[in-house]
Symmetry: D3
Subunit: 274 residues, 6 copies
């Protein structure tokens, strides 16, 4: 997996490569400058230190002083950071730093909307694996800063038995038995179900977490009552800002939302040179 510094270095090389021709040609040499980072719409901050890190890796003599913190909600016009350093280096890092920050704030802000919708229900909003290739660690961080929680990071650190696994194993009970007898004792077993019968079988087989996949709210409520606290219940499928409250009120513990990382739009943020 790429580290944060790898992600940033790749992005800088992608944009600058053999050099910023315009700056080399038009503004050779160095010239001190100051800049402000300003939010142009209300948003939940995520990635302000990633933004700062871009400039540090580009030119460690640039000072970037954040005046907000990840997880904070800010209003239109809020100054998010002050920067000072060589003008040409500020200009060279601007696009990459904004591309990362705008995306992360977008995810945090969208997550915060979902979290607000289910407030008071005790339900966790969690992410999925529908993330931008190469940026998962940043996007899952942004979900947390928006008040959400993470599902497993990838295929390697959690078990989620889906329909195809069940078919291949010959049934829910056998699939759960195989999982339990193989995986580290530190992991829970989660299984995807589509019917009440499957929920009952999963419960009997000792699933730790039961995902209710694409069920309507009535069925979900019935399943929650059936499970009665003997397993964690996760709702998945058909979740959007219009439906999430009703789903939460069925009594499920967890609602997973692909859109958090998949459909978040970039927030409008600008970097202004004084």
């Amino acid at each position: 997996m790429l580290t944060l510094d790898d992600i940033i270095q790749n992005a800088l090389r992608e944009d600058i490569h053999t050099g910023d021709l315009t700056t080399l040609a038009v503004v050779p040499g160095s010239r001190p400058a100051r800049a402000r980072l300003v939010g142009k719409e209300p948003l939940t901050v995520a990635g302000i230190s990633v933004f700062a890190r871009v400039f540090y890796l580009l030119d460690s003599s640039i000072a970037c002083t954040p005046c907000c913190s990840d997880g904070q909600q800010i209003e239109t016009g809020s100054v998010m950071a002050y920067l000072s350093g060589d003008a040409s280096m500020l200009l060279q890092g601007e696009r990459v730093a904004l591309n990362l920050l705008q995306r992360m704030c977008g995810i945090a802000t969208l997550t915060a909307s979902y979290v607000a919708e289910v407030s008071g229900t005790g339900v966790r909003i969690v992410d999925t694996r529908k993330t931008t290739p190469g940026l998962r660690v940043l996007e899952k961080y942004a979900v947390r800063r928006g008040g959400g929680f993470n599902h497993r990071t990838g295929l390697y650190d959690g078990i989620l038995i889906k329909e195809n696994h069940i078919t291949a194993a010959g049934g829910i009970s056998e699939a759960i038995r195989r999982a339990r007898s193989y995986i580290p004792h530190t992991l829970k077993v989660e299984i995807e179900t589509e019917t009440v019968d499957q929920v009952e079988e999963a419960l009997t087989a000792g699933a730790d977490i039961i995902m209710l996949d694409n069920m309507d709210c009535t069925t979900m409520r019935h399943c929650v009552e059936l499970i009665a606290g003997r397993a964690t219940v996760e709702a998945s499928g058909g979740v959007n800002l219009d439906t999430v409250r009703a789903i939460a009120e069925t009594g499920v513990d967890i609602i997973s939302v692909g859109a958090l990382t998949h459909s978040a739009r970039a927030m409008d943020i600008s970097m202004l040179l004084d």
Copy 2:
């Protein structure tokens, strides 16, 4: 810059890392399977060979046969590819392959909407540097498949003199002079202008391309008349699907749209195991 294979390998490692625990535990060994890739909404295809490459790099014995081509518009329910291979490998590659394809089709589809809006005007819709860090080469490819064109790839292969450069150089004429006397003779000089006066100065100084930044349509039309074919004219700022036609009708040659890569939502595409 990361190559396509680097991007895919990073994405696969990000998701699979030490192994797909569920498959290792529940479905050990191999089992032949078939799958179909299906578009769940109308879309313009981009990245079908990227999708196939994911499976090839994961397991070269998987066969992925596309039945659409990049640039093609498909309807809801269209089969985009057939796959066959080991079931557990198909499942392991599914998420990464879809994450890439859905994003690329989203960009191509959005681009195609903009291109359709300006049809008949001869205007080029072009992208910007507001791309996902690490994925620029794929996103710019998707713009082309949607009928758009590319602006410079990064800071290294084109000249765009912005306000800050002009200020630092001491004026438009000097900035253009410096650019011309430095850069390879194979590149054109583009300059950003915000007023009619600036356009006149840029024209006099011999700019090859004049960007009209955030001007209203009346002003843009005036500038186009002023320039009268002596430079290429690019409109930028405030462009969306509602405004793009009017902007095109001012007579500009090029309209650059950050939203193509910045705000495209992922297309709904599924991979179904038979």
Copy 3:
């Protein structure tokens, strides 16, 4: 993390670098040869496909046909694989391939000894993070092939609250509460305890797994009775082949053994050219 192929390529470059001088000087050109891989003592096999992969990556025209499989116990003198290919390539890969295989078989064999000692008790023998830097994925695989199980892979895919974490958090209950409210719902919470009082507090606080660290068998048995199936119980510390049976008979579920990866000696295996 390094992949298997990265590990092998690094090892080959470490040994061969600019070329095998002796072969270049004394045996230029190619000459077909055959070889046998022979176990020189009784052992449990692990890594036979790693062994074969070394030769494949060095020279894909070498054929390596295993005649044993991972997890199998073999006797002195057993042929483990047949190889054929260019003599100089067989000689160049021999040392690296053996260095990996001998270590992996050593771990599997030692693990199998521990597993045999606790047979019939239902106890799981699990590994720790005391592995060779860079080779963890191979060593944890070898533990599984020896009949053991894996603990968490690293710090990122499991929770183990140790004494220092407890102190910093201000107590066991608070530490468990913090863990639960942060981590993915797919992970269990494990906590290290050193006294019966700590076990009781951990139980009350809802720990999923309680580690009994360096307790004597009497105390462990008491703790097992106290826990009474409400949490998984892991014994740790002071475990060796002489003590493991008695520990298992206290009723714990899991015994973790650093020595599996830390103190396994390499098995005696030779590659003989015909």
Copy 4:
């Protein structure tokens, strides 16, 4: 070949990957702490700066002050280093730093035992290529710190003509002739022999170093007399702590011991937080 920093970074990523979940969950934020590194058994130190480098690369604000030096012999209970820094970073680096140090001290300590056995004979104890893949440079360093010497690093920086090379070349004389006429004039030619006749032929052909492979002591003594200083003599095979003195007393110059790197057990060393 991996550099020291590559080895450490790989090991840290292997263990920490996306983050130390326990610390992130239970002990967020920073908290100053102190720790001591303590030897729990008598040992020869090797790798104390490697240990310190792990913490430096993880968090350059951690201070690690060694109070022993490589090559030094210490007693049980000796403090080997003091550390101070953020508690959570000390905990995150502990396992990787110890895994490297314990292994290196193990090799140095075992080497020192061999060196002590042959004291007064003037014989050099040297290592082999039977090292841990990826860690050769550290392990060969540890051999030197234990008082041993290095054989060639790999296949690229020394000549060792073995039985298979001799056969392929058509005899000892021809093999030595080919080596001499190809290799840089800066390298000596070493050849492996199994009989007195072979020793005589090697001597006649002008070998610089003659390896006596798996000979009994009587034969070795005879060969040493035969060679009479006209070549360096290296004994190999069947060497252990019980046999090494007798082998040294045959008059050979060099004894190579695979066990130095192959069978050294990790030393018992702990890092204790105050």
Copy 5:
């Protein structure tokens, strides 16, 4: 593409690898020393900061103070830099630093000779893609420091339609049309011509730059008159220090010279320890 630091790190590892044996053996420990970098013949400087960077990356405690700047012409015996630091580190970096600097100065010096030959004509001397694999960015920099200009960096940032492209496209006009309709509007279209007829067709088709390939001076002069400022004119082929002035006097704008990077000899520069 390799960055400067990648190039230097690769070169250092290539030379030092597991360590400078002579220094480790003969001069262990550190010893302060001073050195001077001296030009042994008249030359145009390029790469003095590359030279300094080698030492910085090897040992950041070495001070390297340049007393010349890139682009400057120096005489025999000029001190180019002063260095101070640990003697053994100065010795270890010397060869790599000189190998890079001598090559770069060689290119700058040769370029300056060509530039001097065409002085007063206004012609640009430009480089080609005939550079040392892996060092292109340094070599093109050196050309600029010698007073030359760069042609496109590679195949990706400029268009040069050659004979084979023309044939494949079915003619000059079609080739230029295709290029124009595909490439970013920021790039000019250059085409290679071998006859006056081709020049006329290229001009009609709207080529931005016309390369006159291997034409004699009379033909070139004729073409320049024909083109009459409607396209930039580049001369290529058969250029050397004896012919370049005559070519420049034909009125072309650009002369490309492969020899700048291809045939430059290393300048004689020494590093002397006091």
Copy 6:
């Protein structure tokens, strides 16, 4: 160190990066073509398989059939290889493949000239560390193909005690003693001398190889007589094609020539599409 494939991949990425714009624009799709590689002057071949490997790595469906072999001397007009494959891929690989081959043939050809000059004397012509950063392994290979021999590869696989080492160690005898007592027994000790007195001291101290640095021929002849076969003698400094024969006739064993890699000009070789 970079492997051959690393060198080629870096060079291809350096040249092609995001794509060959001209081909993408003007000649999209594939078109079969044939080409010939032709030597345009007499030369000694080195690197023909490197040339072929470039095309293989770029597009494994290209067939490149060499009709010469490394070490062979060819005349003007000789066909060196035939290629067939997709026209656009042949064009994309041409420049990189030629850049490598022309350089390697240049080195082999220059080496062959030196070797021819000393024919009959039994003297070895050897290279130095004055190689192109990143390409040493290819350049040292080319020296061998030209009939020369290699000196040590780098600082890590040979001992060369220079003036500064001697000064730091306190004299020639002490420097040699230190080297001998540290280095692997597989390496010889070489020392640089500038006077007859130094030669005598080196001989007494048991140097294996004595370098005569920048001595005139009379002094060298005297030193050779003094050494009388008790050490290998290497001449260095002031060697060129005019002086090398006289130096060889002084009776030295080895002559090292920096110019072999430092000043070789690229051979004139073309790739012609049919």
